[in-house]
């Protein structure tokens, strides 16, 4: 009885995010919004919400982002994963008040690539976490954020 209840809590609570990777990723409805992850203030909590606490550092994730952003409100970031069978790409801004910025679930028929623009509150590492075949990989790049000049 207690075991069943614990399992139920696991599925509907924080474990839902980790378990969702095991479910078929593309059904009729869009992915549930990872509230726990997006509302995490601590970087480690955000990473844990993705199930990626033990992600391996890798060079097989390329992060295209400027070395310096003259406007922290619109910073272009593009991630390309060279890891086979990539299932998802998440992007975090380590120093942001809420580090988790975006997660992209990618079907086999799309390249493991996503390009967005982010708000960066200050100079920070932009971190990419890739999920491939149930395992997690990560890379990061520093983006300096500063205020522009005139005006």
């Amino acid at each position: 009885m207690h075991e069943q209840r614990r399992r139920f809590l696991l599925i509907t609570g924080a474990g839902a995010a980790a378990l969702s990777g095991l479910l078929p990723p593309f059904n009729a409805d869009a992915a549930t919004w990872n509230k726990a992850g997006f509302e995490s203030k601590a970087l480690n909590d955000a990473i844990k919400s993705l199930g990626a606490a033990n992600a391996t550092e890798t060079r097989d994730i390329s992060i295209t982002a400027p070395d310096i952003a003259e406007n922290g409100a619109v910073v272009p970031v593009a991630i390309l994963s060279k890891i086979p069978n990539t299932q998802s790409i998440s992007i975090l801004a380590e120093k942001n008040p809420f580090p988790l910025a975006a997660t992209f679930d990618i079907a086999d028929s799309a390249e493991p690539y996503a390009s967005v623009r982010l708000k960066l509150g200050e100079t920070t590492h932009v971190r990419a976490i890739v999920k491939a075949e149930g395992k997690f990989y990560t890379a990061s790049k520093e983006v300096k954020v500063t205020v522009g000049g005139c005006g």
């Binding site: 400027p66 406007n71 409100a73 619109v74 390009s115 522009g148 000049g149």
Partner: protein, 268 residues
Amino acid sequence: MSSVRRWLAAFAVAALPCCLAAQTGPDGLALARKMLAEDNPGELWIDRGKDLFFQKRGPRNESLERCDFGLGPGKLEGASVRLPRYFADTDRVQDLESRLLTCMLELQGFKREDLAKTAISPALSNGSDIEALALYVTSRSNGMKMNVTLDHPREREMYEVGRYLFHRRAGQTDFACVTCHGEPDKRIRLQDLVNMTDQKEIQEVVGSWPAYRGSHGVVRTMQWRLSDCFWQMRLPELAYGSDVSIALTTYLHRQGNGAVVHVPGFKR
């Protein structure tokens, strides 16, 4: 005007941390600028401006299709590259925005005060109708070259006034436009200061307005750019569509003749 103030003005512009130059010169910013320019949210304002242009609006419930931007009513291709120019119906030299105001008043029956008050939208707002309209009309000249002619004596006069104003020191900072924009390789923090006395440099920027300003989340126009410069210089507020603004625009556009129009630009 004291020589100390002159020296201080020059110093303020020239004295920048030397160690920053290597990292933060144009190349350090080039990647972001390229990525942002390739996909410019400002393009969404073109669609909005087009809708507004052809929509029947205002107390007279008319569209702007009969608006004459200098090539005849409703002729938009190639119109903005000839502006500012003299218009007989208003007996004024007018730029694109003041001409839009004229048409919105005469054709659509809007009130001048209402339009001038809202022409420049607050940052992070939804943007103004005039910003969208100015962008749309300018976009109809995309790919064409700036070609301001000074055949009419009033156009020549406006150019001369604009040139005088560009070089005239004024206000509590004792700056002229040329103080910041008259020498090569100058910048304020990360912003390169366009040397507007160099034809190549001014050609690079004059065809990029109106532009989406990322930090404002709206499209900004030439009238805004000039009024913002006036604010920077602590000069009295530049009235929207005023002769001063048109004189400066005439001067700058003429200096930039040959520039290829490519709007919307993308500014930080």
